[in-house]
Every structure is written in structure tokens, then in C-alpha cells.
């Protein structure tokens, strides 16, 4: 898959990382620019309106959360967070602030490319209307009839499981925090609701996955939330 005319802005203060990300992206035909500080990044953003932003949370001049808000105020843009390991709290905050996804350092370029493809698909999908069926591998969902099939067999889901599944599919490819899911389902988020989500998710996974230890569709991001596989 090539980048065609997709423009990517990399805001990252580490020169080596920024360079090698840019190099890889250019090889895949993406147009990219790099910024070493928040100020430079925001300037380049307003000037060039990139389609996707790659944002390092640990910038020297400004707080990552502020940058996310500022970018989203200008225009709805997929933002990918690049963070160090073990910063779960910051990650969750960034995701709740509107970032689309995150990738933890150190990462493999393959992972990053996959995330960028997800963001790209989201861009393409934005104009589309709500799909009435969803199909990936052996999983088929008929939204109108509220039916879920694994292979040829229909699977019976509880209303809560079905709702979770639909929320995940609507946001497929993105990491959904426990908070986000709880708010979507109940309208508010509490500690207990995160606990309920974990259990419901595990049950759902047992119903639609062939092997729950090596899931095809619902992936866990420990300490952050869940991601519905998009490819």
C-alpha cells in the first residue's frame, strides 16, 4: 500500500527517531515533514494542514495534551501518540483528549506503518455513511438484523456484549480506553464500570474468537484499553 498524497507531520524532538521515521515513511510514498518542538509543529500544522500527525508526548517546550487540543481545535485530524513505555497514565489521558492511537517506544517500523494505515482508512471512511454489515475473516455482523456470525454459525450475544462489539467496530483500529467505552455504554465512567467492561470483553472474546489467547479481532492493551483489529 502506498501513501499516495497523504501528508504526515512528525513532531518529535529526538533527531534520530524523527529521521528514521521520516525516511521509512518517504519510502512508502508518504509526504512528511518533521518538527523538533511543539511550536514548530503547530506552525507547520497550520501552514500545511497534514492529514495525519505523529506526536511525541515528551516534548521539551509544551505539554502533549495541550498540543492535541490545539490541533483538534483547528481541524479534526487523526493523531498518533508516540510515547515511552510505562507512561500508561499519560497515554490514557492523551487518548481521552482525542488522540486516535498510540505506539510505545521502542517500536518496530511495521507496527507504525500498520497504525498509519488504520488512520488512513479512517480518513477514507469519514465521508461514508454507517455500514449495515461488517465482515472480517470469519466474523460477520448484520447491524440491521442485529445478527452476529462466526463462520456459518450465528452467535448469541447479550445486549451489553453486542453494544460493546458495535462500539469497537465503529472505532476499529483505534485504541479505546476503558473510560471511552464506559462513557459510550453508560454515559459515565466509574472504576467498577471498567471492571465490568473487562469481564464482558473476555466473555465476548470467548464467543467470537477461535483462540482467546491469540485473538484475531479484539486485542488488549494492558493498562490502556482495547483495540479492534482492522486488518
Amino acid at each position: 500500500m502506498s501513501g499516495n498524497s497523504v501528508k504526515i507531520l512528525i513532531i518529535e524532538d529526538d533527531k534520530y527517531i524523527a529521521d528514521f521515521i521520516a525516511l521509512t515513511l518517504r519510502q512508502h510514498d508518504y509526504a512528511c515533514q518533521t518538527a523538533a518542538s511543539a511550536a514548530e509543529g503547530l506552525f507547520l500544522y497550520s501552514a500545511n494542514r497534514p492529514d495525519i500527525v505523529l506526536l511525541d508526548l515528551g516534548l521539551p517546550d509544551r505539554d502533549g495534551l495541550e498540543i492535541i487540543k490545539e490541533i483538534l481545535d483547528i481541524k479534526e485530524t487523526p493523531i498518533l501518540i508516540v510515547s515511552a513505555r510505562g507512561q500508561e497514565k499519560e497515554k490514557v489521558e492523551a487518548l481521552d483528549a482525542g488522540a486516535d492511537d498510540y505506539i510505545a517506544k521502542p517500536f518496530h517500523m511495521g507496527e507504525l506503518m500498520a497504525r498509519i494505515r488504520v488512520a488512513q482508512r479512517k480518513l477514507a471512511r469519514q465521508s461514508d455513511t454507517e455500514e449495515s454489515t461488517y465482515c472480517l475473516d470469519n466474523l460477520k455482523i448484520d447491524v440491521l438484523k442485529r445478527q452476529v456470525f462466526v463462520g456459518e454459525d450465528e452467535v448469541h450475544l447479550t445486549p451489553l456484549e453486542y453494544r460493546l462489539l458495535i462500539i469497537m467496530i465503529r472505532n476499529r483500529g483505534r485504541v479505546l480506553t476503558h473510560n471511552f467505552i464506559a462513557k459510550e455504554v453508560w454515559g459515565y465512567a466509574e472504576t467498577e464500570s471498567a471492571q465490568t467492561i473487562r469481564v464482558v470483553m473476555a466473555n465476548l472474546r470467548r464467543k467470537i474468537e477461535k483462540e482467546s489467547a491469540k485473538p484475531r479481532h479484539i486485542l488488549t492493551e494492558i493498562g490502556v484499553g482495547y483495540r479492534f483489529a482492522d486488518e
Binding site: 500508561e88 473487562r198 470483553m201 473476555a202 466473555n203 489467547a213 491469540k214 485473538p215 486485542l219 493498562g223
Partner: protein, 486 residues
């Protein structure tokens, strides 16, 4: 000590009051009556006056013995003289003395009776003193011995209160300077009562409040309480010295561990770094002369080395967290599936053709845990299995519940663990004294982290060789609920 022992005697006298005096008077009267009756009988039988005097003398001695008091001895002597005078000197039945010999006899009798009475009562006092001394020594011995075997602030306080209750019948309350309060239930802390200091070497360690009865504490009980307070002070002081020494020992051990840790890391970093530098150089300097195939292989090797380094750094980071402050963990009810999935996903690229067979419990199991750390434990165990098995051999990961525990089991069918290492595999840097062989990868660091993490979760980990061959690592953490599959 002498002063200490006199006081209780006085207290006793005061305490006895009029009843005791009455008893003494009664005793004296009875003894003298008996002596008079005997003397009258003897006199009727024609036995001489000398023997009669002896009977009275015996009576006076008995009075002293019975009453233990020289005042009554004196009184008995004087009464005896009067009785002798009345009944046995001529003219009888009068208090008149007609013969000077009788007067002298009576006088000598009086002196002898008084001296022997005094000596007798002194002897008795001595005996009482000795008995008291013995009792006090016994108490002291009991207290001191009792505190000897008591450890911990709480136990010391309770022991002290127990002694006070047993020997004085008073309930008490211990308040230590650090703020801990023992004794009495929370809602009925005593309001009145007498406070005693618990002495320490340099300063008072706290206070001991004793709730006395209506009659007050009393001198003897006060002594007991003060003794207990002093012994409590000594015991508490001993306790604090002990814990201080323990802290120093732990700090020293930690310091030692830290330096070993650094040395280990340096060793472990050197190998892959040397390899990386070499590979990079080779690629850079001979790029044109290398074939595409060779270049690809070199790059592949570099990326493998780096992956290994990343895992090492991850472990080092966790290790520092563990070393810092006894590992701070953030426990959340985590579904076991999620943790296993993340670990399996992490390992997917590192298995090199080995099949990973995963078995999960049938129902959804959750347990309070720090998900990231348990993932790290699983990754380390799986990585360990990968490193010790030939390519293509299967590795098993099994999770099941046992009563209220969640058990994780990682097994392989490699050569197993050397028997002499079985007990030490989880110790960090076991190789400490042995020379580090640079060819061999990985230190006990990974497994040491496993143990630290599992223990911080209140579980335990063990390594064994399974009967079918191969190594088996099992750890369990306390779980709570299992949710039935809907």
C-alpha cells in the same frame, strides 16, 4: 531495697485497722488466761512458784509469736506480772507484795519477759522481711523473664498490662510517644487514673495510665507498676535497637545488591553492544563488497541484538522499580485472558518456529494484579523457555484456578534445569562469584524480577523439572472472583 520493703509493712498495718488490734488483744487475753489456768492447776498440785513463772514466761513468748508485735509482748509481760502478783504471791488475791524476794522475782520476770518478747518480735520481723524480699525477687524475675521473650511493640505493651492486671487487679492503658495506644477498647478509653512514665535511656518513651480502684493504688501496687513500667521501657528500647540494626543490615544488603546489579548490567550490555558495533562497522566499511544476502543477514542480526537489548532494558527498568521501594504495584482487577494475550502477542515474533500452546480456564477469571508486570513475568518465563530449547520444540503456557488462586504454568521439553541450580534460579545475579561467561546470554535478572513481582502480588513462584523432561515454572497469585460464562 530496705526502704522499699519497709513501706508495704506500714501499709499492711494501716490497712488492717481495728480488726487487727482486736485480734491481738484477743490472742493476748486467751494465752494469758490459759497460762493462769495452768498455773493455778500446778499450784494446786503443789508445784513451786518458779515453775509458775516459767509458764507465764512461755505465755509471753507465745503472745509475741502470735501477734508478732513487741507492744503486745510488753503488755503481756506487765499483765503477767500483775497476775503473778495477784494469784501467787502472798498475800494472795491482792496486788500487795509483802516480801522483798517476791518483788525481785517479779522484777526479774518482767525484764526477762520483755527482753525475750522483743527478741522474738525482731526475729519475726526479720523473717517477714526475708519473705517479702523473696516475693519481690520472684516477681522481678517473673517480669524480667516474661519481657525477655516478647517481641514487637504491641506484644510488649500487652504483656505489661497483663502483669499489672494480674498482680494489682488494675486495668491499664499504654500510650507510646509514636502515638500508638494499647489497651482499653476504642470507645471506652479511660478518663481518670494515675499516669506513670515509661522510662527510656535518654527520654521517656511513653506513659502508662493505671485505672485504680476506689481505695487508690496503694504503695505495694505502685511498686509493681513502676517495676513493670521500667521493664517495659527496657524491652521497648531493645526493640528499637533491634529494628534499627535490621534496617542498617537491609540498607547494606541493598547497597551491595545495587553494585552487583550494576556490574551485571554492564556485563550484559557489553556483549550485544560489541556485536552491534562490529556488525555496524562491517556493514558500513564493506558495504560494496558484501553480497545482498550477506548485507541482509547482518542487518537481521543487528535487529535481533537490538530486540534483545530492549528486553534487557525493560527488565532493568522494572528491577530498579523493585529495588527502589519494595516495588510499588498498582493492582487492578485484570482478566487473565488479557494478560496472557498481551504476553503471547509480545512473544509472537521471538519464538523462532517454536509452537506455543496456550490453555486458558473455561470461565472468565479475574485477579487483582499489575497487568504490565504480570505480562513481564510471563514474557520473561516464555523468553527463558525459548532460550533453553532447540528451535521447533513446543512451549506450553497453562492457566488454571486452584481454590482461590490463579496458577500460571510455563513448561518446555528442553534439557531442564541443572539440579544444583534449582534452588537458586530466582536469585538475582546468582553468578556473582563465578566468572561471567561472555558467550552465555542473560542473567538471573529476568527470573529474579519474576519472583519479586509474584511475591509483591502475595503469590509464590517455583521452578522444577517435570517428569516427562523439560523445565516447568509455576507461579500463582491470589485471585478473587470467577465469573461464570454467560
Amino acid at each position: 531495697m530496705g526502704q522499699m520493703l519497709q513501706r508495704p509493712r506500714k501499709g499492711k498495718m494501716k490497712g488492717k485497722g481495728w480488726n487487727a488490734h482486736f485480734l491481738q488483744v484477743q490472742n493476748t487475753a486467751v494465752v494469758l488466761a490459759v497460762a493462769t489456768a495452768l498455773s493455778l492447776g500446778a499450784n494446786a498440785l503443789g508445784i513451786g512458784r518458779e515453775s509458775v513463772t516459767m509458764i507465764y514466761l512461755l505465755g509471753v513468748l507465745m503472745v509475741t509469736v502470735l501477734t508478732g508485735n513487741y507492744v503486745s509482748g510488753f503488755a503481756a509481760s506487765i499483765i503477767s506480772v500483775m497476775l503473778l502478783n495477784f494469784f501467787f504471791t502472798s498475800p494472795t488475791y491482792t496486788f500487795v507484795i509483802s516480801q522483798s524476794a517476791d518483788l525481785i522475782t517479779l522484777l526479774f520476770f518482767l525484764i526477762t519477759a520483755m527482753i525475750s518478747g522483743t527478741v522474738m518480735s525482731l526475729l519475726r520481723q526479720q523473717r517477714e522481711l526475708a519473705q517479702n524480699n523473696e516475693k519481690t525477687t520472684r516477681l522481678l524475675y517473673e517480669f524480667a523473664g516474661g519481657f525477655m521473650h516478647v517481641n514487637g511493640e504491641k506484644n510488649i505493651a500487652h504483656k505489661g498490662m497483663e502483669y499489672i492486671l494480674r498482680h494489682t487487679g488494675c486495668s491499664s492503658l499504654v500510650t507510646l510517644n509514636e502515638g500508638a495506644v494499647y489497651g482499653g477498647s476504642a470507645n471506652e478509653r479511660m478518663t481518670g487514673g494515675t499516669a506513670f512514665q515509661i522510662p527510656g535511656v535518654s527520654q521517656s518513651l511513653g506513659s502508662l495510665k493505671v485505672q485504680a480502684g476506689i481505695s487508690g493504688i496503694g504503695n505495694e501496687n505502685e511498686l509493681v507498676i513502676k517495676t513493670v513500667a521500667t521493664l517495659m521501657g527496657t524491652a521497648l528500647e531493645r526493640e528499637s535497637i533491634y529494628s534499627e540494626r535490621e534496617n542498617i543490615r537491609i540498607a547494606m544488603e541493598r547497597e551491595k545488591m545495587r553494585s552487583t546489579f550494576l556490574r551485571s548490567i554492564a556485563h550484559d550490555l557489553r556483549t550485544p553492544l560489541t556485536a552491534l558495533a562490529g556488525l555496524g562497522n562491517l556493514l558500513n566499511e564493506n558495504y560494496d563488497t558484501l553480497t545482498d544476502e550477506q548485507r541482509k543477514e547482518l542487518a537481521q542480526n543487528m535487529s535481533e541484538e537490538t530486540t534483545w537489548l530492549m528486553n534487557l532494558v525493560e527488565n532493568i527498568l522494572n528491577m530498579t522499580r523493585i529495588n527502589e521501594d519494595r516495588l510499588i504495584i498498582h493492582k487492578v482487577e485484570e482478566v487473565v485472558d488479557d494478560v496472557v494475550e498481551e504476553a503471547v502477542r509480545h512473544m509472537s515474533g521471538l519464538l523462532h518456529g517454536r509452537a506455543l500452546e496456550v490453555s486458558l480456564p473455561d470461565e472468565v477469571v479475574t485477579a487483582p494484579m499489575d497487568g504490565k508486570l504480570i505480562v513481564q513475568v510471563l514474557v520473561n518465563l516464555l523468553d527463558n523457555a525459548v532460550r533453553h530449547t532447540p528451535e521447533g520444540s513446543p512451549i506450553g503456557l497453562k492457566v488454571f484456578t486452584q481454590k482461590d488462586k490463579v496458577v500460571f504454568e510455563v513448561s518446555d521439553n528442553g534439557p531442564g534445569i541443572a539440579p544444583d541450580l534449582l534452588n537458586t534460579v530466582f536469585d538475582s545475579f546468582v553468578r556473582g562469584t563465578q566468572p561471567v561467561s561472555d558467550g552465555k546470554r542473560g542473567i538471573g535478572l529476568g527470573l529474579a524480577i519474576c519472583r519479586a513481582v509474584v511475591e509483591a502480588h502475595g503469590g509464590s513462584i517455583k521452578a522444577e523439572n517435570s517428569v516427562e523432561g523439560g523445565a516447568k515454572f509455576t507461579f500463582h497469585i491470589p485471585g478473587k472472583e470467577s465469573h461464570e460464562r454467560e
